[in-house]
Symmetry: C2
Subunit: 506 residues, 2 copies
Amino acid sequence: GPEALLLWKSKSTFTSFGVFLLQMGWGDLGAFGEPSKETPNLDQMASEGMLFLDFYTANPLCSPSRAALLTGRLPVRNGFYTTNAHARNAYTPQDIVGGIPDYELLLPELLKKAGYTNKIIGKWHLGHRPQFHPLKHGFDEWFGSPNCHFGPFDNRALPNIPVYKDWEMIGRYYEDFKIDLKTGEANLTQIYLQEALDFISKQQASQQPFFLYWAIDATHAPVYASKHFLGTSQRGLYGDAVREIDDSIGKILKHLQKLGISEDTFVFFTSDNGAALISAPKQGGSNGRFLCGKQTTFEGGMREPAIAWWPGHIPAGGVSHQLGNVMDLFTTSLSLAGLQPPSDRQIDGIDLLPAILQGKLIDRPIFYYRGNEMMAVRVGLYKAHYWTWSNSWEEYGKGIDFCPGQNVSGVTTHTQEEHTNLPLLFHLGRDPGEKYPLSFVSDEYQRAMEQISAVVQQHKATMVPGEPQLNVCDKAVMNWSPPGCEKLGKCLKQPESDPKKCFWPH
Amino acid sequence: GPEALLLWKSKSTFTSFGVFLLQMGWGDLGAFGEPSKETPNLDQMASEGMLFLDFYTANPLCSPSRAALLTGRLPVRNGFYTTNAHARNAYTPQDIVGGIPDYELLLPELLKKAGYTNKIIGKWHLGHRPQFHPLKHGFDEWFGSPNCHFGPFDNRALPNIPVYKDWEMIGRYYEDFKIDLKTGEANLTQIYLQEALDFISKQQASQQPFFLYWAIDATHAPVYASKHFLGTSQRGLYGDAVREIDDSIGKILKHLQKLGISEDTFVFFTSDNGAALISAPKQGGSNGRFLCGKQTTFEGGMREPAIAWWPGHIPAGGVSHQLGNVMDLFTTSLSLAGLQPPSDRQIDGIDLLPAILQGKLIDRPIFYYRGNEMMAVRVGLYKAHYWTWSNSWEEYGKGIDFCPGQNVSGVTTHTQEEHTNLPLLFHLGRDPGEKYPLSFVSDEYQRAMEQISAVVQQHKATMVPGEPQLNVCDKAVMNWSPPGCEKLGKCLKQPESDPKKCFWPH
C-alpha cells in the first residue's frame, strides 16, 4: 500500500507529502514506460515536477523499507532485520515480537518540535504491540492498520487485522472493512483518500503546518479496487488498483491547489519495494526492464518510481540522475522544516534539496541488503554484487519464483553465491537489466572495483548494527485484543506465549 | 538506421514525414521508459503529438518491414520472404538476387500523381540490382545506400557498400564514408540530417509538396556516432547513437517550425524492427519489458515505438491504443494526399487518420510472420502463438541468443513448436511480457480463441502469396560495379555467376 508524508508551515514554509506505493514497481507508471499508460495523474505530476530515475528503497521488503524511511537509517542500523539465518528478508507479520525501538528517532517526532501536526494514513508496519504504536513515535493521528490486509482469517488461529483510528481500533479487515476476494472489490483506497483530503482541509483551515504520510496498502496482494475502477484497466485487477491510486493522487494534488497551498507543499511519490513478480500478472506489477522483483537485491527489487512535486519551486519536467533513497526523505523533510538530523547516530539519508532545486549531483553509494548481509553496492553507474541469490532451489521447486521469465545464468542464482573476492560487476547505464557482467580481466572492471572496494571498506568498518527486531515470533502477540476492542466486542482470546525463532525462508 | 517519410502540399495540405529507426526498440525512448531518459527531443515530439502504444512492424527484420511500409502490404504478399526453409527470416544482403517487384506500387509512385517530390535518405534495402533502384520505384531523389553499412570488406570476396546520390554511387562506406570501428566515430548521421534539412528547405522555397523517407542506418550494428556525441550517454556507444538521432529529429522538427510549415507537415516516427538484443548492450538497444528482440515474433521483435506529430491537427499529449502497423503509413499518407490506395490488390495497411485526429479505435488484427508462416496473431488484447521459435539449439549453442536473460519455458523455444491446434494465448494488457500463457481450459481461453480462429481462418482463406524474392543468392550480383563507379575508379571485378539457395538459419 502507498504511504504518504507531508510537512507544512503557513507562509514561507512547507508541506512535505510522500506517497509510497507498496509493491508498485518502476514499470507500473506510464511515465516509466508501462505499455498501457494508465497513470495520467502520476504522469502529470512528473511533468509538473521532477522525475528521479535512480531512486532506491533501503530494502526489498516493506517493513524494513518503511522503518528506514522514517528513521533515515538503514534497517541494519535501526533493527529491522533478522539474524536467524544468512541474508534473509524479514518483516512484521502478526506474530512478530519486535518493532521500532524507542531509541530510534522518527521523522514525525522531530517535526513535532517545529510545530508540525503529523498523520499516518495506511499501513504502519513498524510493529503492532502497544509500545510500537505510531502515536507513541511522533504521529498525532492515524487511520489505518498495523499490518498487511491479509485475510480473511478465522479469529482463532489468526485474528483479522485491526484498523485503527488514532489510539484505538475501529474494526477489522474483512469484517467491518470489506474486501471481496472474488470480485476484488473494496473501497479502502477511497477511505484513505477521503482521510487525506479531510486532514489537509483541517490543517489548512487552522493554518497548522502538517506532515502527512500516505501509506495505503494497495497494491499489495490481495489486490483490490473500488467499484468505480473495477474492470477499467487493460491490465486487469492490478491495473484497476493502480488506476484508483493514480486517480487518488491526482485528487490530492488538485486539493492542495484548490486550497492554495500547493506552492507551500512538498510532495514526494515513491514505493517501498519493487513489484512482487511472484504475484504477477494478476496480483503484481511490473519493474519495467529491471531484473527480478520484491525480495531480491537486483534492480527490480529496489529501484523505485519516484517523483518530487512542489509547484513554483521545482522546475517542471525535470529529470534527475541523483542516486536517491527513501532514507533521504527523512533528511530532506527535516531540511524543509529547518531542522537538523540527529548528530548522535549514523544517518544514511542525505538532503536531496540541492539535487531537486539546483540540479546538483551528490556523490553517494547505494547499499543493497538482505538481513544484515550487504549483497550489493552501487557507485555511480556501476553495481557490484558481493552475494547473489534469488531464492532457494527448494522454494523454486514449489513454484516460488522472484524472477519469472528472467533467469540470468550465474546471476539470479538459487544458491547463495559469494562473490566477495571477485564481485559480479554491472554497468547500469549500458545494462540496466543486469544481464551482462563485466569481464573480470577488463581494465574497466579493475578501475571500477578499486573505487567500489574503498567505499565498501569504509561502510563496513564503521557499521554498528542495531539490535535485530525481527528474530522472535510468538502467537501470543498477535492482534487479539487491540486497544478499543472492548467497546466493539472484538477482543479475542490470546493463546499462551510460546516465543520461537521466526522462520524466514528467503 | 532510421528511415523517413514526408508528404506536403503548399497550403491546406501536408508534409508527411516518418522516421524509422532500424533496430531502435520500444524501450529505447525516455517516453517509453528507458531508465536513463536521454531522448528529450523524441519525448517532446510525443508530448506535442500522439504516442502509439500498440504499434507494430510487419516483420521482425529490416528489408521485409521496409518493403511492407512502402507497399502497404505484408511481406508474404509483396514477395519479401523466403521459402527455402520453414519460418525463416530473410533480408537483402549483397548477394541477394531478388528485390521489390515491378508489380508492386510503392507509396512514392502513387504520391507522384498528386504532385509530390519524393526523397529517400538512408538505407533502401529493397534490392540493389539496377531494376530495383529507388528512382525506378517512385523516388525522385536518393541519398544513401542500398544495404546495411556492414564492413569494412576487402572488395574481393565482398565489395564495400556503395553510397548513392540519386542515380549514381558517390563512394563507398569505410572508404569515402569513414566509420571508425575502434572508436565508434562516424559522421554519417550528421550527413543524413543535413540532407534532410536541405531537401526540406528546397521544397519549401519552391512551394513544392514533398514526401521524405528518412531511413538512416544507425542504430544498426556496427553502431556509430559523430564526435560531438561520443561518450555523452550513460548507455555507452549505443546510447551515443540514440542521442544523436534524437538530436537530429529535434533539429528537423524545429526546421519545419522555423520554415512555417510544421502545421502542414505530418511526421511519423517509428522503427523497422525491435532492438537486436543479440547485439546488446554495446551494439543493441532495449525493448523495454517486451519479450526477446529482432528476429522473433514475440513483442520485443515487432512492437515499435511510434509517434505521430502534426501541430495544430493532432491534439498534444495524445495517447492511442489503436493497433497500428508500419503498413498503415502507406494508406494514411495516401489519405493525407487525397489519394485512394490501389483497388486491384490486397492492401493490409489501414488509414490511421480517424485514430489520430478523432481518437477512434479501428478493429483490426496484427499478424506476426516469419517467412510465409503466420507465427502469431493479435486480436484486441489477446495474442495467440500458432508457432513458437526463437532460434535453433545449434545456433544457441554457439552463443546466438535473441532473448538474452529472458528464457520463458515453452515459449522462447529453440525448436520450432507447432501450436496450431491449441495456440499459446497471452493477454497483453495483464502480461505484456508474454510470460504467463492462459490456461487452455479456462473460459477466457475458449472465448478469445473463438474470435481469433475466425480472424485467422479468413486471413488464410484469402491469402495469395507473392513470388518469393529472397530465395536465391549469387555472388555475381553484389555491389561490384554500381552505376557511376567508372567516374570514381571504383568498379570492381564481378565473379562468375553461381546462383544458389540463400541460407537463412533463423
